[in-house]
Subunit: 429 residues, 2 copies
C-alpha cells in the first residue's frame, strides 16, 4: 500500500471522502464528502473566510451562479484559450495532453512499441450545459473558474458597498473542467470548489508588484498558521509558456504530495485583462479619475487543500495512525468517554459533560470497548481532545483530558472545560 | 412599485442579490449574491446545520457531487418522471405548463384573442451536461435534487459511521432544473441551493407517520424560532395528483409571499422508493434482520428561505425602511459610529471598540454624515445594534447601544459589549 492508498482507504473507511456514484461503478473525476469530510471541508472554508473577509476591512464576499451568460466566456477569452492540446493514440484511441511528454512516454512504454499519434488538436476545458425548453437548446457552460462572477459584478459591488480601490472580493464556489485525466483522489477532479480573492489595485506596476508579493506571503502564511509542514510547501514561478492567457505573472504555492510537488494555490497578476475585456472602468470617488484597475488574484482549491491537509496531517506511528490536523480544522473537537458503560453514575456524569460541550463544539460520544481503542479511533480522525469520565470524576468533578499529539493526560475541572477548549481553538466568528 | 419591486431594488442596491450576468443582459433563472446576500445565505445555512446536525445525535452531514453517474437518474425515476407537460402557443411559439391553467389564461388574455395551443408534450427538467474529451461526449445531468447523493452513499455512511436506523443524513448543496418559467426574483430559479434531511426509519406505517409528523412540526418551528411571522406560514398537503413520483405523502410549508402562498419546504414520505430502486438494504446490527428502510425527507430551498426571510423582515415605516431580521441571520451584527469624525480621541476610541468586536462578530464601521442617517443605512440592511462612541465615552467608557427594532438607546460599558451581543445572539457553534 502506498501512502496515497492508505489515505484513500482511511478517507473512505472513516467517512471523509467517497468515490462519486460508487454503487453505479463511479464517475471519473467526481467525489462525495462523507460526514467527517464535510466538516473538514467546511472548517477550511470557514477559516479562509475568517482570514480573507472577516478579519479585513478591504475585502467583501460574493457568491455568483455557476452558470453564466455564454458571452461572459467569449469576453473572458476562455472560449478561445481555456484549452489543452490533445493527441490520440491511433491504436487504442486514448487521448493524452501533448504538452505532457511524460504521459506520452508512459503510454509508449505501456504499449511496448512505437505508438502512432494523431496530430495535436485543441480541446476546450469548459463543460457544456444545455438550457431551455425549445430545441435546439441553448448551449451554456459550467464556469471553468469562479473568478468571472466577480468581474461581471464589479460595478454592482462598487455601487452597492463602500469599497474603494484598493479592495478585494472573496468568493468560494464550485467550478467544473472537462479534465482529460482526473486522478490522485480529489487532486484533479472535474467538479471542484475554489476559494478565490480578486484584489483590485491602481494600474501601477510598482504598486501591483508590492500587492502581489504581499498576497504571496499572506497566502503561504495562512497554510503555515493552520499547521502545514513548512518543508512540504514552496513557491514556484510559472514559466512564460505555462502561464494562463490572462496572467502577466503567476506563482504557485506547491505542496509536496506523495505524487510530487503539486499546485494547490495560484497567485496571479491578471493586469487589466478581465475588466477591460468586460469593458468595465472604475471612477475614483475622490479625484473623479477614470481607469481600469488591475487585479491580483489568489486562487486556491478547496478540495486540494482538504486533500493536502489530510496528507500533511497523516502520521503512521508504531501503534497508531493519527491525523495531526490543526484543532480548528479537526472535524470533531472533543470526544467524551465514560470509563465504563455499566456504572449509571459515570455514564450520567459523562452525558452531562457531553451535553454541556455539544452546545459549543462538535463533540463525539463513545462508550464502547476499552479506552485505548477509543483513543485510537479518535486519533485516526484527528480529534484533538479525548475526555474520560472516571470514578474520580464523581468526587472531584474533574475529567482526564488526553491530548491527541502528545498523548499526555491532564485533569481539568468540568467547569473549566469549555474555556480550556475555546482557548486552544482561538476565537473565530 | 410593488412590494416585490421594493425588495428587488433594496436587494440590488445594498448588495444582497444581483441578477446573474447582468452586464451581458442577464440569463433567466440565475442569480448572484452580493456581499450582504452571501452573509445572510451563509447564516441561514449555518443555522440549519446547527439545528439539523450539531444539536442532534442521530444525524450526520454529507456533501455529494452535483454531477452523478447517469444511471442514478434512471434508477431514481427522474429520467421518466421528473417532467412538466408543456404546450406551445402556435402564434408566438412561447411554451407554458399545461397543468397550470392560470398561466394559459393569462397568455390568452395578453393575446386578446383565441390562442391555438399545440398538443401537450412531456418535457424533462434535468439539465444535460456533456462530459469527456471524445466525440460524442457522454451526456450526464446536473442533479435535479440533491437527495440522490444521500441514497447512493447510504451504504458508505452506514459502513463509515456509527449510525443505526433511525438516523438522518443532512446535506446542503446546489441543484439545477430546466424551469420553463423562472421568476419572482430567486423564487423559481434554474440554479438553486437545497438544504435537505433524509431520515431513515423502519418500514412501519405507524412509526413512519409519527416521524413524519415530528419533522413537519420541527421544520415549522425552525422558521418560527428564526423570527418568521406565524400568520405568514401554513402547512398544505399535496393532492395525490400533484405528489412527486417518489412520494407516498407530501406536505409543504408555505409562505404567504406578495405573489401568493408559495412552497418553500417540503416534508415527504418517500417510503422505500429510492433505496429499493438503488437495490440497497440495511441489516440491523443487533437482530441481523435485513430490510429496506423508509425515508422521511425535509427538503428546503436555501434561496427561497433567503428570499422569504428578506420579505418577512421588510418593514416600510413612516420614516425608514427596516429589515427586522433575526439577529442570528443579520449579515452585520453591529455597526460602530464615532459621533464625529474630526475628534481624534473619539475616532480612536471608536476604532478600539470596532477592533475589539470585529474579532467576534461581523461589524461595520461608519463615520460619515449625521448619526440619524447612519442609523437609517444600517436599519435597511438589518443590523441589530448600532454603537455610538461620543464625548461621554471618553470619561465613562460606555457607548450608546441603539436597538434596530425599538430604536431605544441604552448605555453599555465597553467591557460588557461582547457579552451583551453574544447573549442576545445565543450560543452557536
Amino acid at each position: 500500500m502506498t501512502l496515497m492508498d492508505n489515505i484513500g482507504s482511511l478517507a473512505k473507511r472513516r467517512g471523509f471522502i467517497y468515490p462519486g456514484s460508487e454503487i453505479y461503478g463511479g464517475i471519473a473525476g467526481f467525489w462525495d464528502y462523507g460526514p467527517l469530510g464535510v466538516e473538514l471541508k467546511n472548517n477550511i472554508k470557514r477559516a479562509w473566510w475568517q482570514t480573507m473577509v472577516y478579519e479585513r476591512e478591504d475585502v467583501v464576499g460574493l457568491d455568483a451562479a455557476i452558470v453564466m451568460n455564454p458571452e461572459v466566456w467569449e469576453a473572458s477569452g476562455h472560449m478561445s484559450s481555456f484549452t489543452d492540446p490533445l493527441v490520440e493514440c491511433k491504436a487504442c484511441h486514448k487521448r493524452f495532453r501533448s504538452d505532457k511528454p511524460e504521459l506520452l512516454a508512459a503510454h509508449e512504454k505501456e504499449h511496448k512499441e512505437k505508438v502512432e499519434w494523431t496530430e495535436s488538436k485543441i480541446f476546450n476545458l469548459l463543460t457544456e450545459v444545455l438550457l431551455g425548453v425549445t430545441e435546439p437548446k441553448m448551449t451554456a457552460y459550467l464556469r471553468g473558474e469562479i473568478t468571472q462572477g466577480v468581474f461581471v459584478n464589479f460595478r454592482n459591488v462598487v455601487d452597492s458597498t463602500r469599497v474603494k480601490v484598493p479592495f478585494g472580493v472573496a468568493q468560494i464556489g464550485k467550478a467544473f473542467r472537462n479534465e482529460i485525466t482526473p486522478g490522485n483522489l480529489t487532486f484533479r477532479s472535474r467538479e471542484f470548489e475554489q476559494m478565490e480573492l480578486e484584489y483590485f489595485v491602481r494600474p501601477d506596476e510598482k504598486n501591483a508588484s508590492e500587492v502581489f508579493e504581499y498576497w504571496k506571503q499572506a497566502r503561504m502564511a495562512w497554510y503555515l498558521t493552520l499547521g502545514m509542514h513548512k518543508t512540504k510547501l514552496r513557491f514556484r514561478e510559472h514559466r512564460p509558456e505555462e502561464r494562463a492567457h490572462y496572467a502577466k505573472k503567476a506563482w504557485d504555492i506547491e505542496y509536496e504530495a506523495p505524487f510530487g510537488w503539486s499546485e494547490f494555490e495560484g497567485i496571479h497578476h491578471r493586469g487589466d485583462w478581465d475588466l477591460s475585456r468586460h469593458k468595465l472602468v472604475y471612477t475614483d470617488p475622490e479625484t473623479n479619475e477614470g481607469y481600469t484597475p488591475w487585479v491580483i488574484e489568489t486562487s486556491g482549491g478547496v478540495d486540494r487543500a482538504t486533500l493536502f491537509f489530510l496528507i500533511d496531517a497523516y502520521v503512521q506511528e508504531e501503534k497508531r495512525i493519527v491525523l495531526k490536523l490543526h484543532s480548528r480544522l479537526a472535524p470533531v473537537k472533543a470526544a467524551v468517554f465514560p470509563l465504563v458503560s455499566n456504572k449509571p453514575d459515570i455514564v450520567k456524569k459523562a452525558r452531562e459533560v457531553y451535553t454541556l460541550l455539544k452546545k459549543h463544539f462538535v463533540v463525539a460520544w463513545d462508550d464502547r470497548g476499552n479506552i485505548g481503542k477509543r483513543y485510537l479511533s479518535q486519533d485516526e480522525i484527528g480529534t484533538p481532545w479525548c475526555l474520560t469520565i472516571d470514578y474520580d470524576t464523581l468526587g472531584s468533578d474533574t475529567v482526564t483530558v488526553r491530548d491527541r499529539d502528545t498523548m499526555s493526560q491532564t485533569r481539568i475541572n468540568i467547569s473549566q472545560l469549555q474555556t480550556y477548549i475555546q482557548e486552544k481553538l482561538g476565537g473565530t466568528i
